[in-house]
Symmetry: C2
Subunit: 391 residues, 2 copies
């Protein structure tokens, strides 16, 4: 960040990354799934039994296994992480014209899910230590702009209710949840963790997605384990779990033959075919996590001699799944960042910058936001590196 | 309908249905998928190649094959039929506080998709000849309640714009599209066909879903062919196809590494794993359709001697896929209908009445509606019968 630091030696970085990935076949993707377990057996079982759709033994089993792995009391499977975020917000009481605080540095699904509720994203800054929502800036911001009336947190500047806070565990690195939860408690704000990227990441011993009121996972093709497309909701609250299950299955009331629905529901349930893949993948998750941490250690080692950039490592007290490894340039220099990206692409090593910050996208321009200087800085300095477990 | 007709002989109907299904193992489901083709080969190919998620060869191939089968110029795959309906409405220009005319007798997804756009369902009556939206009542209703100003059709009673009409091909039986399209042309209303149940059904030689501006298919587990969960959009308009593809893939702009999105998009793309199943199923569709029509003919034959009820057959000039076979009682007598349903369930033959008409569901109470006497009558008189192709 400071001009006094060394300029970027692109060639040296490319050489260091090349060395880490020497054994891999080019082109090297950013994140590819690995199917080395019982995937075909379980898919075959779906075909043999005829259960492929939104009910079936693998749906129940994958839910139980996800709950066991994360320590959540309940897991509810969905077609994808976006759908899970959407119903999590609805179940937390987010309504039309509410505001929801989310990081500006996130995948667009976090903001879109807010918009699906008819609500407005309110963008928060990230901290460099975790790449996630900055709890102390959040506390400061809420103190400045909001009032609590009758248990409702009102944005004084817009007159709208702030209905929830959605921290997102960026590239698998846990947000600093303890101070964030404290602040949210003070303002009566439910916390929904966007843990789409952080299956296998823990914050002081607790799995990400189980610290707030609700958590959301993703099993997209680029995630640590995949179901093709898929997601899950995590909660300890049995009533909430019941309501999530109801909302994701068209809000149909149980009956042997009658079709009655008591609210606007969604067709968001994960099919059994996809859950079967999930069950096979989850059996390999411990091995995937181990391989991913080993890869991160190799990157850290190789990049330790580099000047002008550093490999991003987990904060003390947390365990990251290192979903997407990240390199942070010292200086905000998108020219140097893009030169590095292009040089690596030429070597057929796929890398990418962080997402475009949400307020720069046309549909989210003009949404409420706090000062976003760290977001801007991280966006100008960050490059994600290939992170597949088999590397 | 008339009190002069014969009362219902429940035992005789049960005996007739029992005879048709004599060879089948109990319990007999309403509609079960059949996997007798290359399902496992294609799933295996996904696992072997590593392509299971929202891009892959089976997605492209299934789109091409669906387009070829239906005669649509473009097909765009989605996670399910509900998602397809939602983006079809958005692409047709449906906006917040618009009204969309849909049949009152439909699966709840049709109404929910309207609500997802922030629009209001406006319920239309069905006709007994097709079980679908009644074109002449629609013409009469629009003449009575609407004005066209500057190409916008305005509901005089609510002041809201009527933005689209969504006929639904009930249980596979095509709506009488020609007069419906005429009326919609007069009022400048785009037609979106909900063909979720009618893959393989034709209206005067043209496949359902290709007659309006946009069509929607479903590949849910209970449909003629299944992808676990899945749906498709059909259109002949290349610009519309492009916009549907964009909307269903988070509205991301193409770029080798940058993440930019230019509108609120959706994570609605069908995963390759599910498309693989679809490709294998589609190869068997002609055989499934033949088997289903043969089953319908057996029901028609067996039930021809029954008094107080008749088997529902396709209208002249159309071909139904007979997705769900239906029995229509002569009289509106929900007591007799339920007695028949219970008697068949006791025989472990799963049957069901039509869906609860939409205006009776709490969330759609009070929505605008025309006179719905045929909907009410059909709901009181209809029973769906087991319809799997292997029966």
């Amino acid at each position: 960040m400071s001009a006094a630091r060394e300029p970027l030696d692109v060639a040296a970085i490319v050489a260091a990354i090349d060395e880490v990935l020497a054994a891999a076949t080019r082109p090297i993707a950013l994140h590819e799934p690995r199917f080395g377990g019982r995937e075909l057996d379980y898919l075959g079982e779906c075909i043999r039994t005829g259960w492929v759709s939104s009910a079936g033994a693998f749906v129940d089993r994958f839910e139980e296994e996800i709950a066991r792995f994360t320590g959540a009391r309940h897991a509810v499977l969905t077609v994808n992480g976006t759908a899970a975020l959407h119903v999590a917000l609805l179940a937390a009481g987010v309504s039309r014209d509410d505001e929801v605080i989310i990081p500006a540095l996130t995948f667009v699904a976090t903001a879109n899910a807010v918009q699906y509720c008819g609500a407005i994203p309110h963008f928060a800054d990230s901290e460099e230590r975790t790449l996630g929502l900055d709890p102390s800036k959040l506390a400061e911001h809420l103190a400045q702009i909001s009032d609590v009336h009758d248990g409702r947190c009102i944005n004084r500047q817009t007159g709208r209710r702030i209905a929830a806070v959605v921290p997102m565990h960026t590239f698998g690195h846990p947000v600093d949840m303890a101070p964030l939860l404290d602040t949210c408690r003070t303002y009566g704000l439910p916390v929904i963790e966007d843990a789409a990227e952080s299956l296998g990441s823990h914050y002081h011993g607790r799995h990400t997605g189980t610290l707030g009121r609700l958590g959301v996972l993703s099993f997209n093709g680029n995630k640590v384990v995949t179901t093709g497309g898929g997601g899950a909701l995590l909660t300890d609250d049995p009533n909430l779990a019941r309501s999530l299950r109801h909302l994701t299955t068209t809000a149909k009331l149980p009956h042997a033959w009658e079709f009655r629905h008591d609210e606007v529901g969604y067709n968001y349930r994960m099919p059994n075919l996809n859950a079967a893949l999930g069950c096979a993948q989850l059996e390999q998750l411990p091995a995937f996590l181990e391989a991913k941490r080993a890869l991160a250690a190799r990157y850290a080692q190789a990049l330790s001699r580099i000047t002008g950039a550093r490999f991003f490592v987990e904060a003390p007290g947390v365990t990251s799944n290192y979903w997407l490894n990240a390199l942070l340039l010292d200086r905000e220099d998108t020219g140097a960042r893009d030169a590095l990206i292009e040089a690596l692409h030429k070597e057929r090593i796929h890398v990418r910058p962080a997402w475009t910050p949400m307020p720069l996208l046309p549909m989210y321009r003009g949404c409420p936001a706090m000062d976003l200087r760290t977001t801007k800085s991280l966006h100008a300095r960050l490059v994600n590196l290939p992170s597949s477990p088999h590397l």
